[in-house]
């Protein structure tokens, strides 16, 4: 069965259009509050980010902290530099050779159907031709990653994640980032079945129970389950938030964190909406309907902090014990530990580019493992730091840096 790639003009000709999206689309800067005034705080944060990026080896611990703290990584230019470091990806590595034409991949048809319907994910003002070029690229990136990792299966919603990377870092870099992400944070979603996705969602209600037993009790009685949060988790909120900016800010956060962080954010969102939830009839339909729609005006920065609080207070391994979940069942989680170990010792881009020019391009140059891991910065990933660090974290989060 051969699916048409995309419905094009009758002659099927592709319009040559500039594909450098970044030249035409720059999201407005995030507004921020800070005691010193937003501008100077932002400047200070920018300086800190560049310092982390340019130190050799790259100060990943600081970068993570900056990605988590208020406003995230601030600009797309920074994201293009920092996201690869957060994932330990060397964007100067040449992409692997394709093992088959993309049209022959088993998930190709579904990918095309979904990408064709993804118009909402592109900036509203964008020209059709430009969008179509990007949609073609989106199909391309997705299927190339799938071909490169035969064990991965496409799911509806994966395209919502990949489009975010495509819009920010462009086609080539998004391949390497998504390739890595798919074998780590997103790994459990990409099994043949959704059993391990369910497993991750199984953390949601127990977290809510810990934080607010009354709300939990109501939700349990309504039999709402957790499917309302499915799209949140497996698209990293890309499918459900209207504001592209908030999505990027959350991606900064999630890239710096444990793979379960999107579930903690889901808990934070539900807790935030307690009053709304308790006001509807205690019935699956009404609670599902209310929760599945995320209002535009939620205080996202506060929710990020709240999610971090929840993570520190009720870390995954403890929740797992309590909810009788098998913590290590998730390969997103076990792979994350591995990624953790490899994050340090990355070279700054200036060095990588130079090395790439030289024979062999030994990107993973050995490094003296620095002890620069600031504990507070990694609160989100090393669960064991306890409540004492929480206070520090909270005050740190009030500021840009």
């Amino acid at each position: 069965m051969s699916a048409k790639r995309r419905q094009r003009t009758p002659n099927g000709k592709k319009t040559p259009v500039t594909t450098d999206l970044n030249a035409t689309y720059t999201p407005p800067p995030t507004a921020a509050k800070s005691p010193q005034g937003p501008e100077s705080a932002k400047k200070a944060k920018l300086t800190a980010i560049y310092a982390a990026l340019n130190s050799d080896p790259v100060d990943v611990a600081a970068l993570r902290k900056l990605a988590i703290s208020r406003g995230g990584l601030l600009t797309d230019e920074i994201r293009r530099k920092a996201w690869p470091k957060l994932l330990n990806v060397n964007v100067f590595d040449p992409p692997p050779k394709l093992k088959m034409p993309i049209e022959e991949h088993r998930d190709y048809n579904q990918v095309v159907l979904d990408v064709n319907r993804s118009l909402k994910r592109f900036p509203p003002g964008m020209q059709d031709e430009q969008r179509e070029v990007l949609q073609d690229q989106l199909v391309d990136v997705i299927v190339r990653v799938l071909i490169n990792n035969d064990q991965l299966h496409y799911y509806q919603g994966y395209h919502d994640i990949v489009v975010t990377f495509l819009l920010v870092v462009g086609k080539e870099k998004s391949f390497s980032l998504v390739d890595k992400l798919s074998t780590h944070h997103l790994r459990d979603f990409m099994d043949r079945t959704m059993d391990r996705t369910k497993h991750m969602l199984n953390y949601l209600l127990p977290i809510i129970r810990k934080a607010n037993p009354k709300l939990h009790d109501f939700m349990e009685r309504s039999e709402v389950g957790y499917v309302f949060a499915l799209a949140w988790l497996i698209t990293w909120y890309g499918h459900v938030l209207n504001d592209f900016h908030s999505i990027l800010r959350l991606y900064d956060f999630f890239l710096a964190c444990h793979p379960l962080m999107p579930v903690y954010l889901a808990a934070a969102i539900v807790l935030e909406r307690e009053a709304d939830v308790l006001a509807v009839e205690c019935d699956m339909a009404f609670v599902h309907s209310l929760l599945s729609r995320i209002p535009d005006n939620l205080p996202m920065e506060e929710l990020v902090i709240k999610a971090g609080d929840l993570f520190v207070q009720y870390p995954p391994h403890e929740m797992a014990k309590e909810a009788q979940l098998q913590y290590n069942k998730s390969s997103a989680i076990t792979k994350h530990k591995e990624l953790e170990g490899n994050l340090r010792g990355q070279r700054p881009d200036t060095v990588l580019r130079r090395l790439q020019g030289q024979a062999g391009g030994q990107a993973q140059a050995g490094s003296k493992q620095s002890n620069r891991v600031v504990k507070v910065a990694v609160w989100a990933i090393s669960a064991g730091i306890g409540a004492a660090a929480l206070a520090v974290l909270n005050s740190a989060m009030e500021f840009w840096v």
Binding site: Q110, R117, Q156, A231, A279, V280, E281, S289, R293, P295
Partner: protein, 253 residues
């Protein structure tokens, strides 16, 4: 199946605060991209969504309607009698994701307590028609009673030149499976009534359905009850953010 005359009232909404409206839960299933989201969206009062997206998991939509029906009235002298009135109904639609991985694990929860099923296929794509037996099995596996009302919908009829599933073969299939059959085009403006018919046919089947029929007089809820299998819902709060709700709240009977 010929729709009854009161189906023209399908667009008429009931008073959302009517405490006595009954709730029917309907699940909409079928392969990915056949138009389930577009159909439910249109029925619930929206126009054809130009920017529909793949459904992830399950989406919920609802619409309040009225149908003509008999109801139990309390009469102080003869205790009770049947009379013809407008029955306020709320149709709750569960719009499910078509991709196999979702149906296998995420959608199960939503088969519980459903009153009716809508099967959708795409008339321009044979594989979506050929999947129908799998979808029917799926329902059976979720132990829906065999007499749960079902309808079959062939969508995208506007693309006549690309139609590959003929009306004849689909009709035969629906007869064999004992369900009414409709062909629709969610995309066409003028198809609104037809789309309404699909849902209103179900509403009527539900009204007439044996298991929906209570004993004529129910002590527990003596004002206007049709029995226990249907939940009466006091409407505490209107649902937040559901802009699909029709604003017209007059009874059209």
């Amino acid at each position: 199946m010929e729709p009854g005359k009161e189906q023209a009232n399908g667009r008429g909404a009931t008073d959302p605060n009517d405490k006595n409206r009954r709730i029917f839960k309907i699940i909409v299933i079928g392969d990915s991209n056949v138009g389930k989201t577009c159909l439910t969206y249109r029925f619930c009062g929206g126009e054809f969504p130009e920017k529909t997206e793949a459904t992830i998991g399950v989406d919920f939509r609802e619409k309040n309607v009225t149908i003509e029906g008999e109801t139990v009235k309390i009469n102080p002298i003869i205790k009770w009698h049947l009379s013809l009135v407008c029955l306020p109904l709320q149709l709750q639609l569960w719009d499910t994701a078509g991709q196999e991985r979702f149906r296998k694990s995420m959608v199960q929860h939503y088969y519980r307590n459903v009153h009716a099923v809508i099967f959708v296929y795409d008339v321009t794509k044979m594989s979506t028609f050929e999947s129908l037996p799998t979808w029917i099995d799926e329902c059976d596996r979720h132990s829906l009673s065999p007499d749960t009302p079902r309808v079959l919908v062939g969508n995208k009829c506007d693309m006549a030149d690309r139609k590959v599933v003929t009306s004849g073969i689909a009709q035969k299939f629906s007869d064999a499976n004992n369900m009414p059959f409709f062909e629709t085009a969610a995309k066409l403006e003028e198809e609104g009534d037809k789309i309404n018919n699909v849902f209103m046919t179900l509403a009527h089947k539900l009204r007439d359905h044996k298991s929906m029929m209570p004993p004529p007089f129910d002590e527990a809820d003596s004002r206007d009850s049709r029995g226990k299998s249907i939940k009466l819902r006091p409407n505490k709060a209107e649902l937040d953010g559901d802009d699909d709700q029709p604003s017209d709240s007059s009874c059209a009977c």
